[in-house]
C-alpha cells in the first residue's frame, strides 16, 4: 500500500481553515421562519391548557402550535438501522409535542415567527397550566415500588433488563481463601458539547418534504421523519451538509421531525429550528449515568474466582438508544477480565431527567471506570502491581467471544500496556512518587478498555458506494458514511485511491454532503465503524469500476483484461507495467466515442458480517494538591491497537480529542439537577465544567499496528475508544498518589473534599460539633 497509511492533509482542511465550509445555517433559504420551542417548567405532569393569546399578538409571530395540535403518533428516535423484526425495533415513545411532560425541558409548544426575537418573545408569552405529578431523578429510586411511573407498560420504570450467567457464581464464592473486593461505582450525566449546536430547516416542494439537518445519520433521520409525520418514508428527503461535531448526540433524530411538521403547518414555507446551547444540554440527548455494583472474589494469587456485576442505567424520560448502551457495557465484563463464574444484570430505567442516547464510547467510558477501578482494588487487595495484575488477568491472546465471534488475534492488551508503561516511564515514577508524603503528592495509574468496531451481529451492517470516472481521470465517490469532523472523507479518499489505483487521494472527489434522494444508502456515522465498513464497499465498488475500465480499455488497446492493472491513474499491462492508456484518455474516449459511448460508473452494496476488537489503555500521571482538593494531570498517554492506520496524523488527532473528553469526564463534567424541582442547574458552558486547553497537559497518542485480518485495509475502530479509559486511569493515579479510592465521577474538588475528609487527609477542626 502506498496511499493508505500516509498522513495526508484533510480533503476539507483549506475550506474549514478559511471559513468557506457550508454548514446547515449557510444553506438557509431566504425568508425561512424561526421556530422556537416552549419547554416544560416542571419535571413531570400533564399539560392542562396552553394560553397562546399573548404570543399570537406579538408582531412577527406567524403561528403557535401546541401539544394539543400535534398528531398522536409515537415514534422512535434512535439512530439504529431499521430492523425487519418488530421485536428488535427501537421503542417508539416519543411525540412531536407532549401533553404528558416527563422532564423539565420537555417540548410543549412551538412559536413560528418571521424573526428570532419575535419567536423568543412569543415563547416567553405562552402560559402553560400543568397538573404536576411526583417525579423521580435517581435510577434506583425509580425502580422502587410506588415510584412515579413515566410510561405505560414499563412496571417500575424498567425499560429493559438483561443478564449474563456464566458458570455457577453461588457455588464458586464458597471456595476457601477468597478475598471479596466490592464497590459501588457511580458515573454522572454528561453532554457531548459538540461545537455546533443541533439545528435544521425544512420545507415542502412538489408534495415532498426536505429537511437539511446537522445530523450524523441522514438516511435514518429520513425514516424517522416519515414515521413521526405518518407519511411514507419516500416522501422525505434529508440532506446532511458539513456538521460541527456530533459525538453521538446527532446519532438520533432530534428536532428534524418537529421542524418538518412545522413546515407542513405553514404551507410548506421553510422553517428553521436552531438549538441554543441551553437546549442542547437538556432537550437533545445526554450520556447515560450508570451506577455499578461489582463484587469480585479473588484468590490469593489475584485470579478471579467469581464476579457479580449489577448495572443501573439512567435512561431519562425517553427511550432513545435505550438498553443498547448498558447492554454493551455489561457485555464487556465477561470479556475484558474473563472469569468462569459470573452473574451480571443490567437495567435501563426511565427517570424524569433528559433522555440519554448515544455518546462517544456507548457505555464503555462508564464500564471502563467501574471495571478498571475495581480491578485496581483487586490488585491492591493481593499486593500486586496494578499493571502486572492486568498483564496476568486481562483477555488472553486467542480469546474468542461466543456471541460476536470476535477473536483476539494479537496480544493487543499486553502490547499496549507495555508500550504505555515505557512511554510514561511507569517503573521509575511509581518508585519515585511513593516517597511523596506532604500536601502535594504525585501518582501514576493506568486503565484498559474493551471495544469492538461495528454493530454486527446485533444489527445490520451495510455499506453502499458509488464511483463515477470523471473525464480528467479522477473519480467522484459517494457513500452513506458521513463526515462529522472526524476526517472520514479523507480516509475514504485514501482508501478509494488505493483500491482503484489512482495516483493520489486528491484524485478522489468525495461528495461530502449526503442527500437521501441521491446518495447510496448507508447508515451514517456511529459506533466506530465507518472506516471499517466503508472499506468493504469501497474495495468492492473499486473492483467493479476497474473491471469496467479494463473492459473498455481492451477495446482500445487489444490487450487482455486479465493482464491489466491501474497504477498511478494509468491502465498498465501487468507483466511489464507498460502504460496502455491514461484514465483520462480512456474516460474522454469512452464518453465521446460516437459509436460506443459510455459513462463509466460503478455502484454496489456490501453486507458486512464481521466485527473486530479494538483495544488499548491509558496511563496518567497526576499531582494532587490535597488541601486545595485539586488534581492536575501532568502527563497522559493513550495507546491503541486499531489495526493499520489509514492516516496517522488524523488517527493521532482522533485520539487527542477522545483523551480530552476523558479528562473532562474524569475531573469536571456533570449535568446537575435541582433535587426539589428537577430543573437543570448548569446547562450552559460556564457552569458545566467542560475542560479547557488550560486543563490539559500535552496529550500523547501511541499505536500498536496489528493489521486486522477481517478488514480490507487491516483497520478497525478508533472513533470512540480514545474516550474510554482516561477517567479510570486518572482515578487510579489519584489512588496511587493519596491511597484514596474514589468511587464517583467527576473527581472534582467537591467530591475530593468529601473523600479526603472521610479518609482523614483533610481535618477541619472547626467543623467538629
Amino acid at each position: 500500500m502506498s496511499i493508505v497509511g500516509k498522513s495526508e492533509i484533510r480533503v476539507d482542511a483549506f475550506d474549514k481553515a478559511t471559513g468557506r465550509t457550508k454548514y446547515y445555517e449557510d444553506r438557509m433559504p431566504a425568508g425561512a421562519l424561526y421556530a422556537r420551542i416552549k419547554h416544560s417548567e416542571i419535571a413531570h405532569g400533564f399539560v392542562k391548557s396552553v394560553d397562546t393569546s399573548e404570543a399570537e399578538k406579538i408582531k412577527g409571530v406567524v403561528k403557535v402550535l401546541t401539544c394539543f395540535d400535534a398528531p398522536e403518533i409515537d415514534f422512535p428516535t434512535a439512530g439504529h438501522p431499521w430492523s425487519m423484526d418488530p421485536g428488535h425495533q427501537d421503542v417508539a415513545d416519543r411525540r412531536l409535542l407532549n401533553t404528558h411532560v416527563r422532564y423539565y425541558g420537555d417540548d410543549v409548544a412551538v412559536v413560528i415567527a418571521e424573526d428570532e426575537v419575535s419567536a423568543v418573545q412569543g415563547v416567553r408569552a405562552i402560559k402553560v397550566e400543568y397538573e404536576a405529578l411526583p417525579f423521580v431523578l435517581d435510577v434506583q429510586k425509580a425502580m422502587e415500588d410506588g415510584a412515579p411511573q413515566l410510561h405505560e407498560g414499563y412496571p417500575n420504570n424498567i425499560l429493559k433488563h438483561t443478564s449474563v450467567r456464566k458458570g455457577d457464581y453461588a457455588a464458586a464464592i464458597r471456595e476457601p481463601g477468597l478475598k471479596k473486593v466490592e464497590g459501588w461505582y457511580d458515573t454522572p450525566t454528561v453532554q457531548h458539547c459538540h461545537i455546533e449546536n443541533h439545528g435544521c430547516f425544512a420545507y415542502e416542494e412538489n408534495g415532498r418534504i426536505t429537511v437539511v439537518s446537522s445530523t450524523q445519520i441522514p438516511h435514518i433521520v429520513c425514516r424517522v421523519v416519515g414515521q413521526a409525520l405518518g407519511r411514507p418514508w419516500a416522501d422525505v428527503q434529508v440532506i446532511k451538509p458539513y456538521i460541527g461535531g456530533g459525538f453521538g448526540n446527532k446519532q438520533d433524530a432530534l428536532y428534524e421531525p418537529l421542524c418538518a411538521w412545522c413546515s407542513t403547518q405553514v404551507g410548506g414555507r421553510p422553517v428553521r429550528i436552531d438549538c441554543s446551547r441551553e437546549e442542547t444540554f437538556v432537550s437533545n440527548r445526554v450520556r447515560h449515568a450508570i451506577r455499578f455494583h461489582i463484587v469480585s472474589w479473588i484468590r490469593p494469587d489475584g485470579s478471579m474466582a467469581a464476579r457479580k456485576v449489577d448495572l443501573y442505567s439512567n435512561q431519562g424520560a425517553y427511550a432513545s438508544h435505550g438498553h443498547s448502551i448498558v447492554a454493551k457495557a455489561m457485555g464487556s465484563f465477561p470479556q475484558l477480565y474473563p472469569c468462569d463464574n459470573m452473574e451480571c444484570d443490567a437495567y435501563t430505567v426511565y427517570t424524569n431527567i433528559p433522555a440519554a442516547g448515544a455518546m462517544r464510547g456507548y457505555g464503555m467510558p462508564q464500564a471502563s471506570f467501574a471495571n478498571d477501578s475495581n480491578i485496581e482494588e483487586c490488585a491492591h487487595a493481593v499486593g500486586m502491581d496494578p499493571v502486572e495484575y492486568r498483564n496476568r488477568y486481562i483477555m488472553p491472546l486467542g480469546f474468542e467471544d461466543g456471541f460476536s465471534k470476535n477473536v483476539n488475534y494479537y496480544d493487543s492488551h499486553r502490547e499496549c500496556l507495555e508500550k504505555g508503561k515505557e512511554l510514561i516511564g511507569y517503573d521509575e515514577k511509581i518508585r519515585e512518587f511513593a516517597k511523596d508524603t506532604g500536601d502535594i503528592r504525585r501518582g501514576i495509574g493506568c486503565a484498559s478498555f474493551w471495544y469492538n468496531t461495528a454493530v454486527w451481529p446485533i444489527a445490520l451492517e451495510t455499506s453502499s458506494n458509488r464511483m463515477l470516472l470523471n473525464l480528467d481521470g479522477t473519480v467522484t465517490m459517494q457513500c452513506g458514511e458521513t463526515e462529522i469532523g472526524q476526517g472520514a472523507d479523507t480516509a475514504f479518499a485514501q482508501m478509494a485511491a488505493e483500491a482503484i489505483g489512482l495516483k493520489s487521494y486528491k484524485d478522489v472527489r468525495v461528495v461530502s454532503c449526503q442527500d437521501t434522494d441521491t446518495t447510496p444508502t448507508g447508515l451514517g456515522a456511529y459506533a466506530s465503524r465507518q472506516t471499517y465498513v466503508a472499506g468493504f464497499s469501497i474495495r468492492q465498488t473499486a473492483e467493479i469500476l476497474r473491471n469496467k475500465i479494463f473492459a473498455y480499455a481492451e477495446k482500445l488497446t487489444r490487450q487482455s483484461v486479465g493482464n491489466m492493472d491501474v497504477r498511478d491513474g494509468n491502465v498498465v499491462r501487468k507483466n511489464d507495467v507498460k502504460v496502455l492508456i491514461s484514465l483520462s484518455e480512456l474516460a474522454m474516449t469512452a464518453q465521446y466515442n460516437p459509436a460506443d459511448s459510455e459513462h463509466i460508473t460503478a455502484e454496489s452494496t456490501f453486507t458486512i458480517k464481521n466485527n473486530a476488537y479494538s483495544f488499548g489503555c491509558t496511563f496518567a500521571e497526576v499531582e494532587v494538591d490535597i488541601p486545595m482538593c485539586k488534581v492536575t494531570v501532568k502527563n497522559i498517554v493513550n495507546v491503541h491497537d486499531c489495526g493499520n492506520l489509514i492516516n496517522p496524523a488524523l488517527a493521532e488527532a482522533q485520539v487527542h480529542g477522545g483523551m480530552s473528553m476523558a479528562i473532562g469526564y474524569g475531573l469536571s463534567e456533570q449535568l446537575l439537577f435541582d433535587q426539589k424541582t428537577g430543573r437543570p442547574l448548569n446547562n450552559n458552558l460556564l457552569d458545566y465544567k467542560l475542560s479547557t486547553v488550560m486543563d490539559h497537559p500535552d496529550l500523547e497518542a501511541a499505536f500498536v499496528e496489528n493489521p486486522e485480518p477481517t478488514s480490507v485495509f487491516g483497520t478497525k475502530a478508533l472513533g470512540e475508544p480514545p474516550a474510554c479509559s482516561g477517567a479510570p486511569a486518572i482515578r487510579n493515579a489519584i489512588y496511587n498518589a493519596t491511597g484514596v479510592a474514589l468511587h464517583k465521577l467527576p473527581m472534582n474538588p467537591h467530591n475530593l473534599f468529601a473523600a479526603f475528609t472521610e479518609a482523614g487527609l483533610i481535618h477541619d477542626s472547626w467543623q467538629e460539633g
Binding site: 426575537v117 423568543v120 482538593c629 469536571s668 458552558l685 479547557t692 486547553v693 486543563d695 474538588p749 472547626w766
Partner: protein, 295 residues
Amino acid sequence: MYDLKALYEAESVEHAIRLRLEHPEAQIIAGGSDVLVQMREGKRAGKELISIYGIDAMRGVTIDEDENIRIGSLTSFSHITRDPIIQKYINVLGEAVDMVGGPQIRNIGTIGGNTCNGVTSADSASTLHAWEAIVELTGKNGVRRLPIGDFYIRAGQVDIRAEEGEIQTAILIPKASYENTFGYYIKYAMRNAMDIATLGCSVNVRLSPDKKTVARARIAYGVAGPVPMRAQSAEAVANGAEIGKEMIDRFGLAVLNDINPRDSWRASKAFRQHIAVEMAKRCLFESIKRAGGEI
C-alpha cells in the same frame, strides 16, 4: 439578534450623563460581556441601552496629581494586565484580571463593568477591596468619590445614582495604599480558564524595614459573602506580627470569623470555608515572599 428596544451611544461623559437623565430606565453598557449575555437570557430583554464604550477619555491608566493610580472605568482587563504603571505598583491587580474568562472576554471586558455589576465573584473586586480602592462617579452635580467597600450595597446593587445621571468614570488606588506594598491573588475555580470564581482571595502586605514583621496586612474575598469583603479579624492577627508559619496558620483560621459563604449547588459552605482558610495562608505566604520577607 438581541431583543433591545433602543441603543444610545454616548460621545463624552457629559453626553452620557445627559442620556442617562433623558432615559432613566436605560441600562448602561460598556464592553457588553455581561449585559448582552443577560439580555439574551431574557433578564434584560426589551431594554434600552446607553453605550459608553466609545468614550476614550475613560480609558487608560495614569498617575494623577495626588499620586493616585487612576484607572479609567473603560480600561479593559488585558490593558490593565499589560500596563506598566499597574505592573510597577499593583501587579496583583493585573494578575487577578488576567484570570477573567478567556482572552476575548479580557479584551472586551472593562474594570468598570466588572465592579458596577455588583457581583461578588468579580475577579477585580477582591483585589480592589484589599487595596482600598476609591470609586469615582460623575453625574450632573459633578464628581463623587467613595471607598469601594461603600460602593457595594448588596448582591447585584452598587451605589450609583441614576437619578443624578451618574456613571462610574474611574477607579483610584491611593498612594498610601500601594506604596511599598506587595500582594498575591488566588482564584479558586473548577477549571483553569473560562470560569467564574468559586472563591477569590487577595492579600497584600507592607513589611517592616527589617522585613521581620508585617507592618500592614489586608485581605479581601470574593464569593465569601453576598458582596466582596475584607477579613478584618485575620488582618488584626497579622498586623504588627512577627513573620512565621504559626502566624500564617492563625491568620488563616481567623478568616472564619469574618467570612460568611453560603451553601449552594455551586459549592458547599464547608468546602468554601475549607479553601478560604487554605487560600488565605497561601496568599499571605506568597505576599510576604514578594515583599522580600523570609518564612
